[in-house]
Symmetry: C2
DNA sequence: GCGGACTGAATGACGATTCATTTTTCTACG
DNA sequence: CGTAGAAAAATGAATCGTCATTCAGTCCGC
């Protein structure tokens, strides 16, 4: 019966999350009214409170939900990369940028809102985000073990730096939608920059 | 007379900006009450409106004010660097990180609030931020002209990536105050990562 | 005692959340 | 089947707290 309930629920819950994503991407968390999310999702204001404790909870749930999806995607794409570590790094960067075109709202939400609220950045531990970093970190560490990546760099630091670079470039890409930037070219350049920076000499 | 007014004013205006910086760094823009800023600055609530149009204006003014300072500082420090482009890049990174220890509030404010409001990221053009990027961009372009930096990378893209990396690492540094990270070591590693990535082969 | 700087209590708007009511879905019985 | 009645889900108007902002009054330098 929990199943039956869920079956119904999930539809509406999902619609609320989608509405929230669209609204947050457009106007930011604090400038979005709960009633706007409701109308975007095609439900009544009160309905939102049947699925989420409050507006903050909605933000966190949305972030968790989408990041989980991104991370799964990243994991599975990485798994099917044939070739060396550097190919994998290239793939991470590619996927990251691909988001900007495939899922503009999501990209905007993540880049802009990730740092949004004090709650988000400080209180809330943000495990999903850590997961993402760890994927990069492990890749670098693996390369170091193999001897193809210089081992005088801290893999943790590198993963941060790399994420930051990707995030910032993505932000730029997201906000200046019009500009017909060549995403492939960008991917190649950023990947190359890091690969050359990381290679053992 | 505008001068006389300013002379008096500047003291109070400055105190308000400082109070705002402290408060915003601690709780973020939207969670900070105007009355908190006022009490932090030791003025009455209403006084703030003698110096700033409204809360948004206060945010923008604060950002402009501090970024201008950072940029001037960066320019003058760069001017006195003897040596090649790569030394200068090292210095940018060093200054960026030095902020985290010297001016924790400012660092937190810039990293967290830079992307804060939709207003900030989208509507407001954010010239100061562009100025910062241009400094990096010109440095890279110069290196390319000299032939020491590979010219198959877009200097604009690189400046974005580099800023993103610095910003993210700084964010980390800022939020995890306790952790006795070795700032010098971090500077060296990040600088090296980019320098190796940028060098002509 | 005039004029501008300052004060802080009062105002008013706004918007998250609640909850009395309505609608839908489910259950069980003829 | 069809239907009555109960339970669950959904609604949206009303509530209630929270501030940003204002402005009538006070203070101070000249």
């Amino acid at each position: 019966m929990a199943e039956a309930k869920r079956a119904q629920s999930s539809d509406k819950r999902q619609r609320i999350l989608e509405g929230a994503l669209k609204a947050f991407a457009r106007k930011g968390f604090y400038n979005t009214k709960v009633s706007e999310i409701a109308s975007e999702a095609g439900v009544a204001d009160g309905t939102i409170y049947l699925y989420f404790k409050n507006k903050d909870d909605l933000l966190i749930s949305l972030f968790e939900d989408r990041m989980e999806w991104v991370i799964e995607r990243l994991r599975s794409e990485l798994a099917e990369v044939e070739g060396d570590i550097f190919k994998k790094i290239h793939r991470i960067i590619e996927l990251h940028f691909r988001l900007a075109t495939d899922q503009a709202d999501l990209a905007e939400f993540i880049t802009v809102e990730l740092r949004q609220s004090a709650k988000f950045v400080k209180e809330y531990k943000n495990q999903r985000f850590v997961d993402y970093l760890v994927i990069i970190e492990e890749l670098v560490a693996e390369g170091q073990k193999e001897g193809v990546i210089r081992d005088d760099v801290d893999s943790r630091l590198v993963s941060r730096a790399m994420f930051g670079a990707l995030d910032e470039v993505l932000l730029q890409l997201t906000l200046s939608k019009a500009a017909g930037m060549d995403v492939e070219r960008m991917t190649a350049q950023v990947a190359d920059l890091f690969v050359e920076g990381l290679k053992s000499r």
